[in-house]
Structures are given as C-alpha cells and as structure tokens.
Point group: C2
Chain length 346, copies 2
DNA sequence: TTGAAAGCGTTACCAA
DNA sequence: TTGGTAACGCTTTCAA
C-alpha cells in the first residue's frame, strides 16, 4: 500500500488501490457522474479502506476557490453580531464550509490589507455584519464587494442583502408604548448612520403616525458607558414618561440612571429595550424588548452565498432575487416581548 | 506583461519581470536570505510594479500548512469565550494568520468529523476554549491533540496550556465577602466538571482557610434561566447573608430572584458575580465582581502556537515551558471590582 | 548566489 | 465511460 509522504493517503493512492485512474476518483468525489457502477464500487471501497479524505487545500488551488466563508465585522462582543456569527457558523458547518472571522481595523489602510488577505484566501464569499455604522467596516463595503462575493447584513435598505428589520421593531415598540397611554416616547439611540431604516427611524415614524411630539433622540455609545448618565439626565426632564432604548444594555443603564435619580421604573417612567438579550430577563425590573432572530439572519446569509455559487450567470437578476428574499423574510420571527419595565401611564 | 489566467500575477510573472528565476523570488519572499543585492532590488521593483501578492493556498499546498489558526469552542455567545476569541483574532491578524471558528456539535461523532475537517485544512494549530466542561468539546480534547498542535484554554491545571485563574478569583472574592463580616458565603456555580481549579474550588478553599462553614453549592445553568429561581430559593434559607455567583449574569438573576422574594441586596444579602461582564455595572444594584482579562488569554494562546512553530525539536521541554508561562501569567491583570451589590454585614 | 525542475494533491481538458 | 496529463502557484532540492 503506497502512500503519499504526508502520511495521509492521496487521491493517487485511492486510484491505485481501486485500479482506476485518478481522474475517475476525482469525478466520483465531485458530482459522481461519469463513473461506471463497478468503478464506483471499487473507489468507494478504496476510500473506505484507506480512510481517504480529500485535501481541501489542493482542491482550492485547482479550482481557485476555498470552501470557506469569511465573516467581517467590527465588534464581536455585541450580542447581535455574535448571534449572527453563531448562525453563520452553524449553517456553514452543515455545508462543510470553514468560517473565518476578521475584525476590521479602525485604520482604513490596515483594514484594506485585511480584506486583501481575506480575498487572497479565496473564500466562497464573505458576509459583512455591519450593525455599527460608525466603523471602518461600513466605509469599505464597496471595496469588499469588488474583491469577492459579498452578503451584507445591515439595516440599510437597498444596500443590504439581509435586512435586520430594526425599523419595524422600532416602530412596533414605540406603538406599544404609545398604546399604554404615553403622550410621547423618548429615544436613546445606539450608533447608526443616517440611513432611513433603523430602529430610530421606526420610532420616529410611529410617533409621527400617532401625531405625537417627536423629542430629539439622545445618542448613546454601544458600550453603554454613558447609559447611566443618560438615565440621570432623562430624570431631570419634566415630560418623560416613556423611553425606548436602542438595545437592552442601554435600557439597563438608563433604568439604572433613572433609579439612582429617584425615579421608579416602570411606575414613573416606562423603559423598553431592543434585541432580547438574555440579560433583559435578569434585571430588576425585567426589560420589555423586541426579539430579533439573529441566528436566522446568519443562516440566511450563508444560503445567499451558496445560491450565488450556483447561479453565476445572471448576476443582476440574482441580486434582485436576493433582495426580495431578504425583505420577505425580514418579518419572520420578530416580536414584542412585554416584561416589567413598561406599564400603562396612570 | 504576461499574467496568469486568474487575473492575479503569479510568482512566475514576478520572476519574469525581474529577470530572475522563480526560485529566487520565492527565497526573497520567505527568509530573504540567499539573494544578491541587485536581484533583491529587481524583485522588489517587480512586486511593486505588478502588485504581486503571494497565493496563500498554493503556499499551503507546498508546505503542507496553512497560515491559519482554528478556534474550537462549544458556545460562542458567552461573554468570556467571546472576549478570548476577540483576543485571538486581534493577535492573529497582527501576525497575518487567518482565524477560523468552529462550534462542536453535541453529537460526538459529528464533532469528530468537524475536527477532522479542521485538521485537513492544515492550520498552524488550534486553540480550544473550554470554559464549559459539560460540552462535547471537553470529551474530544485528546482526540484533537492527536490531530494538530493544540493550545487548551481552560481552568483545569495540568491539562490546560493557558489557565484562566478562576481559582484565585473565586478564592479572593470569597475572602473579600468574609472580610465584610459574613459568617459564610453561599455559592451558585456555573457548569464545570469536577477538576480542582475552578472558581468553585477557590471559593471552597477560602471558606476552609477561614474556618467558615461550607454550604452545598447550588448548580446553575450557563444560560441563567434558573438563576431567578435560585435567588428565590436562597431567600427561603435562614442563614444566607452572602452569595458568590459563578458569573455576572447568574448574579443578576440571583439578585432579581432575591429582590422578587422581598430581600434587599445588599442590605439583607450581599451578592458577588464573576467576569466583569459590562452588564455588571448597569444593573441595580451594580455587581461586585472579579475582573478577568479574557482578551489577554487569547493573545497568549496565539503566541504559544507561534512558539510551537519555531521549536519543533524538544517538544517535551517545550510543553513544560508553556505550562510555566501559563501559570506565571495567570495572575496578571485580574482583580476584584467592588460595586454596590455587596456590603458589610450589620 | 542562482536556476532548473520535481513535487504538493487536486481538477479539467482532451483523447481514446 | 475511461485515463493520461497539463495546469493551479508555490517551495525546495540539487547542480551549476
């Protein structure tokens, strides 16, 4: 039994053992077509016998494509991006793809280099998780699209291939707060750039539709450092009875700030969050929020990349189809979760 | 100007343009040694001119090793593992390595296949993040070690290459609680298996050293679903004045459970957490905790893998050295953070 | 110091 | 349906 140096058997070993040509084994391995029944048998046996496993690197060199998916994001320790990554990984594993992750440096030149490196590893494609529009990730989107097939997960309609539907969430949660009798809803926003489909815009639209006054939104940071202070600040405003925070952590911070300032939540002020971070059910009071199925966004991203793979021809039509898929699915599996932090205005 | 089909220039193009052999370019690219000054110039110019970037896949095929690091974990949405991953990614990017992530299926056969797949992609090595000892990850450690160079991040002394030092944290936080006048400290543990260096063992040891009674620890789940109930349960016990929870989320849940049951934290009962999850400063009350520098664990893991690379020879001595490094650094950058959830017993 | 050439493990084209 | 063979882009050995 001859073997390649490496220790691992190669396709040549299989061919030899099965008394067929290397080409036949290769065909067998791939589509399976064009191989006679007996050969198939022999090859299968040989593979079994030798515990042969094809070398993905050699394959990648030959076809100029690695069975991998690159995930590009700017901050991995946020709940949403992480859950999306989890979804991407799960679906990729099911398909036998490797998943690589890269954070993009704030320095745009370095970030570009990272992207170049990724592209050189010739993945099936990449998925950009761009929930934080302040980062260099966003600035590089078109650069990345030029380098490899790209699925963008963001809430910017018309640009993104998988939409987060934060708009509808912001709209619904504001509507809910209004339905509790609050005259208006204040908003503490997380950093997003000024496109038209964020939770902030949903919030604004809901107020507008209800004819409610629209207070100036207050900007918080992703890392919630200032959420406390914002809560305290809100407590000094006379007319605040309901607050919609950009995510659950910010909501927790706002609640804390309000509490420290002597306000009771929800009796004096209702506070709602966003995302359904596990923490939202562990605080006092627990946080009313909007549930997003982040993992599913990940699944969908991988599927788009696969589709891309099989439909290389009409790339314009494809793009359109992707968009449709994305918007169609945007409403799935999202809903309001009412907990203790919100109540009817008395 | 001749070019390879792919569009990208190949090493051959560079050689031709620079009027040198392919071999020389290759030498130039790698160690840089064994190339004359003028050739160096010419090659550099050619590379610049053609925007040449070596193909990592072809290189990987030739040397039978890809410049990548595989990260293996069982749950990515926990704060600790995530932060560690962030550290790994950052350091890897600095070194030009790709990092791939894989969750291991609960089904051990499937998990094994995943590992085989990873090994076939011939990474520099892998790092196993094994904070959750109930998973299949733990069962496969020796299997993985056989397949590729491995750095294990866990709190199991003697097995792990990077130790989390949770033991010392558990010890210190318990000591602190005791120093506040509490007769003993109850413990809500997160899932870890029965080795001797977890936070739970640190807790036990601290009690023992102080001659304090050692209550039976209560097991919580990672996902904190039961933390609320455990808090409620603890409120029914007569002698509970201090609780050390396995992590900050569990602490939040316990605090909530206690609060719902009418106890005041910290006036009636002090509660401490672990990890310094950002959420710990956002709750009411904010949570006293133990800060771990997770990111640094990630850095260290990558460095071990690199060292591994350059010291293939005496692998036993190396192993020992790694262990030393790990333990030496275990105490770096960890410390108690006192917040509102703990107070002196009155 | 240099270059020619033989791999590395696949795929894919072209004949048979 | 088969098999021989030339790529794929790089490294590395061996001579010169």
């Amino acid at each position: 039994m001859v073997r390649a140096k490496g220790g691992q058997p190669s396709i040549r070993d299989v061919a030899q053992y099965a008394n067929v040509s290397v080409a036949s084994v290769s065909r067998y391995l791939n589509n399976g077509g064009g191989v006679g029944a007996e050969k198939r048998q022999a090859i299968a046996a040989a593979i079994e016998m030798l515990h042969y496993q094809p070398n993905p690197i050699a394959r990648a060199l030959a076809v100029n494509e690695m069975s991998s998916i690159s995930v590009i994001l700017s901050d991995i320790s946020l709940y949403g991006p992480m859950k999306i990554l989890e979804g991407i990984e799960e679906e990729s594993r099911r398909c036998g793809y490797l998943v690589s992750v890269s954070l993009l440096d704030a320095d745009i030149e370095k970030a570009r280099e990272t992207v170049d490196g990724l592209a050189r590893s010739r993945p099936l494609g990449c998925v950009i998780i761009d929930l934080d529009r302040t980062s260099s990730t966003h600035a590089l989107i078109s650069y990345i699209r030029k380098k490899m097939p790209t699925v963008l997960i963001s809430d910017e309609r018309g640009q993104s291939d998988v939409e987060l539907g934060a708009y509808i969430g912001g709209y619904e949660i504001t509507k809910y707060l209004l339905s509790l009798g609050h005259k208006t809803v204040h908003h503490v926003s997380v950093p997003v750039n000024n496109n038209r489909y964020t939770r902030t815009h949903g919030w604004r639209q809901a107020l507008q539709d209800a004819g409610a006054p629209i207070p100036e939104p207050i900007a918080a940071d992703w890392d919630c450092r200032e959420a406390n202070r914002i809560g305290e600040y809100l407590s000094t405003l006379p007319d605040v009875t309901a607050v919609f925070a950009g995510n659950d952590e910010v909501a927790a911070g706002v609640i804390r700030g309000l509490t420290m300032a002597g306000k009771r939540v929800p009796e004096d002020i209702s506070v709602a969050g966003f995302d359904d971070n596990p923490i939202a059910s562990l605080t006092v009071p627990s946080i009313t929020t909007w549930r997003q199925n982040f993992k599913d966004f990940g699944f969908r991203a991988v599927r788009l990349l696969r589709k891309d793979e099989t439909a290389l021809s009409s790339s314009v039509a494809l793009e359109d189809q992707l968009r449709d898929d994305a918007s169609r699915a945007a409403f799935v599996d999202q809903h309001l979760i009412v907990r203790e932090s919100t109540t009817r205005l008395v």
